[in-house]
């Protein structure tokens, strides 16, 4: 009996919706979609949290503009997430001084359990969870632990990404996870390719990309 599983239920009990941003293929835009989804909700006046669950290679702090070395975490009935661009943010990078964090599967599950068991999100309209590529411990453990979860699948038109997305769709259907949205990124049929996006990552909230993400999310969120 791992007490953290019980602690997690308590710590997530004030959260209305949980959106897990997924794709087995890397580099399709999961992190940017996660960050912009959260920023968009915050701008509409929602209370929103963002968890970077890419534990061995967290990068969500970069577009959120959070320097991990400058963060001092506050303890209050758990650990209080950091506020950035209107979003309550928690990341494993706060505990590593931005070094490499090589972890084996059970350790990955364990660090996610610990983070979920100690982070005090308070009341949230929505928690957005950015995940790593692949279909391994991070994703499986999150799907096991998170209540009320809905998936946002991200892919691109590349044959490698679309094959990966098809596999994930089958998997989500088997697991009974509702698919809130399937976003085709870098594509005329979804979010266009913006050649200068990399240069704008520091102020992602001002980009056409970010507006486009918010627009898509608004159209599917039904509430």
């Amino acid at each position: 009996m791992d007490p953290r599983v019980h602690g997690i239920r308590r710590m997530l009990s004030g959260i209305r919706r949980i959106w897990v941003v997924l794709s087995p293929k890397g580099g399709v835009g999961k992190t940017l979609v996660s960050v912009c989804t959260a920023i968009g909700l915050a701008r509409e006046g929602r209370t929103v949290g963002l968890l970077d669950a890419d534990v061995t290679n967290p990068t969500a702090h970069i577009p959120l503009g959070v320097d991990p070395r400058g963060v001092e975490l506050r303890e209050e009935e758990g650990v209080v997430p950091v506020r950035a661009k209107g979003v309550l943010f928690m990341s494993p990078v706060f505990f590593t001084e931005d070094r490499a964090l090589p972890l084996r599967g059970w350790e990955i599950s364990s660090i996610l359990r610990e983070l979920l068991a100690i982070t005090n999100w308070g009341r949230l309209d929505c928690l957005v969870v950015d995940t790593p590529p692949g279909l391994a411990d991070e994703t499986l453990e999150l799907l096991l632990l998170l209540p009320r979860k809905e998936a946002i699948l991200v892919s691109t038109p590349s044959p490698m990404a679309s094959t990966s997305a098809r596999r994930m769709e089958e998997f989500l259907r088997d697991e009974g996870i509702p698919l809130l949205a399937h976003i085709e990124n870098m594509s005329p049929r979804g979010i266009p390719y913006y050649p200068n996006l990399d240069a704008e990552i520091g102020h992602i909230e001002g980009t056409e990309f970010c507006r486009k993400v918010s627009e898509i999310i608004r159209s599917v969120q039904n509430d």
Partner: protein, 130 residues
């Protein structure tokens, strides 16, 4: 204090598994030293939270577990005392013991690929309900 959250998890786990007991007669909590959790803090919150939920609390015993690490690369076993770590690193491991892999390497071969065999964090050793 994030110890509040750790203690609350234990309380929720105990009560869920025992179906709302009236008394916890004896409780043994194991504290892996990697997490540097003070037994007094956990005990304070355990008593407070259990009593708030109408559960009497008898003896609470703490057992500190030494840290044992085993290298997957070369098989070497060693220990580590977080009280000798830099303040910041001790704090990271206090919140998230897995952070150890970012800061420590096998003293024999230098690898980061090792297992925390014992002494990671808080768990329930034994419990007797009435």
């Amino acid at each position: 204090m994030h110890e509040w959250a750790l203690a609350n998890a234990i309380v929720d786990a105990l009560l869920a598994h025992a179906g709302e007991p009236r008394e916890v007669k004896f409780l043994e909590i194991r504290l892996g030293k990697l997490q540097s959790v003070a037994p007094e803090d956990i005990e304070f919150w355990l008593r407070q939270l259990l009593e708030e939920r109408g559960v009497k609390v008898g003896e609470v015993k703490f057992v500190q577990e030494e840290v044992v690490l085993r290298c997957r690369r070369c098989g070497h076993e060693w220990s580590l005392d977080p009280s000798e770590a830099p303040e910041t690193v001790r704090e990271y491991m206090h919140f998230v013991p897995e952070a150890v892999h970012a800061f420590y390497r096998c003293p024999r071969c230098g690898s980061h690929d090792y297992e925390v065999v014992r002494g990671r964090g808080v768990y329930i050793g034994k419990v007797v309900f009435r």
